[in-house]
Symmetry: C2
Subunit: 354 residues, 2 copies
DNA sequence: GTGAAAGCGCTAACAC
DNA sequence: GTGTTAGCGCTTTCAC
């Protein structure tokens, strides 16, 4: 037994046949039964497994796809990753995790790095986008699927309508009789931040919209602690009062679940009950929100579905030819739970689907 | 401009120098200043980027490491992944995410697949282990670092002492005056399940240990819903009673944060307060537990630290020579929070470190 | 159905 | 300091 791994040549010699026949036999393409048997046996004896690099160099195919996001710790991206892995893995593809970085230029660099050809395709969900990025994606040497902003017509993409999703949340609160509605958003210069702000502004500007008071508070980040701070500013007493008074808002729409949980914690800090004093909605429908107490009413953006859709688009591109750029849209869905339960009735809503 | 990507040969021709000089110039090894300039310019004009497959085939180096776990959705593994990525990425390595599957044999298959040489090393945290797996890891053609069970002396590994961690939790509850202590564990045939059970049994068998009542309830899985069901069995009235009575236990040690949150939800279902009626501890110190209400006292097993340590071990192996198998241990640390706050005093502990 | 041989893109001897 | 050349392991024409 040699010290290094066995190669195809070793197998060929062992089986006493040519290199070409060995390759064919192992792939089951145009080889006689006896040939296949002989080669299989030799391969098994040698513990042969084909070398990925040699194959890649020859076939120009890595059987790898990259998935890149800014923060792989974010539950939304974790769900996407799991979904992508689940879809491509049975087709023999591996998943390489990469980071887009926070900025457009770092994302451009990432796309540019595809030039080394270490993956067959890239699925990317950029936090920030721009024309340069779109340009770079179009000229990328491998297929790219974007999850997020729909680059209409030019680039494969999977989108959702988070703006409409915010609208769903606002409607829901209005239907519940809430009339003083605040929005806690994350940074406005991000793609999701901008879209969700647009959604809130549109919803509250509709002719049918009626509310006593409306406001937006921008948190420093899409995190629990940033949400908590933002909500303290929003819900706290305007002057230094010790007694808890009627809060300025009876409902808060948060731009994601993490912010929403921060809002609930802040309400708690201020002695306000949720949903009694303040109803709260989140977005992304994470497991975190589902198990939280009170469980969180949240707008699902179908993270797993988007991941699956992106993965399928990628497989289409990579396995099949070069179809027209495709665009898949996943609609937002409101999941009503405890954090917006009606104040009066004794019924307790929990985990329901609208 | 050719339709396909530019190769080193293209750059060499463009610069009017040899292939070897081009390669050297691009790597900055033994090339004159003018040569470097010429080659750099040519490469830039052609938009050249080196092909990963060619380089891998020649150097026998992929600049990739694999990270494999059973469930990439688990927050603990997500933290490890993020940490590993953070460590290896600056050294030019990519991270490939893989699945071990639930069983020993699927994990063996995973290790065996390293034979294709698509990564330079494997970091794996198996849910279930056995001698066959240890054997397979030892004969793997690439370095393997195991996070979890310490295969003493033979295999690079990063471990923690979750058994001792459970001991920390038991001690803490005892010090708080709790005397009827239950343990909610996950499946006992998993590595973590077995270790934590051992920890609980050891802690409650110590000569110094004094409690009125001790019990273990095994949940079907390490999840919130399984924890909730297990805790219902444990804390619920033995017969069909409507009135909430004194619960059979005043403290529950859970084998991880997810189970702990299930326990708290069950307590809530049964009208019991946490920590008033029942104190609850978790394990893994996840963000979920930190933002939960009440925030969760939890034993940190240093997921991120373990990920970092494993990544460094891997880099040592891959970059440097072949040192002795190394073993890194990360000690458990108790993080005391609201879910075990003393019943009487009005002080509210929150997020403190012991 | 089988074998011989070319060549994917790169790096590292080896000569000069 | 620079050029020539071999060869990593594989698939795939191309002849037979």
């Amino acid at each position: 037994m040699t010290s290094s791994r066995a190669t195809l040549i070793d197998v060929a010699q062992r089986a006493g046949v040519s290199l070409a026949s060995t390759s064919r036999a192992l792939h089951g393409t145009g080889a006689s039964k006896t040939m296949v048997e002989r080669v299989r046996a030799a391969a098994a004896e040698l513990g042969y497994s084909p070398d990925a690099a040699g194959r890649t160099l020859r076939m120009k195919k890595t059987f790898q796809v990259a998935f890149a996001v800014a923060d792989i710790g974010n539950p939304v991206y974790v769900e996407m990753l799991a979904a992508i892995h689940e879809v491509v893995s049975p087709h023999g593809y591996r998943v390489v995790v990469m980071s887009t970085g926070d900025t457009v230029s770092s994302t451009v660099d990432l796309v540019r790095s595809m030039g080394s050809g270490f993956v067959d395709g890239l699925i990317v969900s950029p936090l920030r986008t721009g024309d340069e990025l779109a340009h770079e994606i179009r000229r990328a040497p491998v297929p790219v699927v974007v999850i997020g902003r729909p680059f209409a017509g030019e680039i494969d993409s999977v989108s959702t309508d988070s703006a409409a999703g915010i609208g769903l949340a606002v409607e829901h609160l209005l239907a519940l009789g809430r009339r003083r509605i605040a929005f806690v958003n994350g940074p406005l210069d991000t793609t999701p931040g901008a879209a969700r702000q647009r959604g809130f502004d549109t919803a509250t500007a509709a002719p049918t919209f009626s509310a006593e008071r409306v406001a937006t508070e921008v948190a420093d980040d899409f995190t629990v602690s940033a949400g908590r701070e933002a909500a303290r500013r929003l819900l706290g007493p305007s002057s230094a009062q010790a007694e808890p008074t009627r809060p300025p808002f009876d409902a808060v729409v948060a731009a994601n679940d993490l912010l929403a949980i921060g809002v609930i914690r802040a309400a708690d800090d201020l002695g306000l009950s949720v949903p009694g004093d303040v109803a709260v909605t989140g977005m992304d429908d994470t497991e975190l929100g589902q198990v939280f107490k009170p469980s969180l009413t949240s707008v699902s953006l179908g993270s797993a579905e988007r991941g699956r859709a992106a993965a399928r688009l990628m497989l289409d591109r990579v396995e099949a030819g070069d179809p027209q750029p495709q665009h898949v849209a996943i609609g937002p869905r409101l999941q009503v739970r405890e954090s917006t339960a009606p104040a009066q009735p004794s019924t307790r809503d929990q985990g329901g689907t609208r």
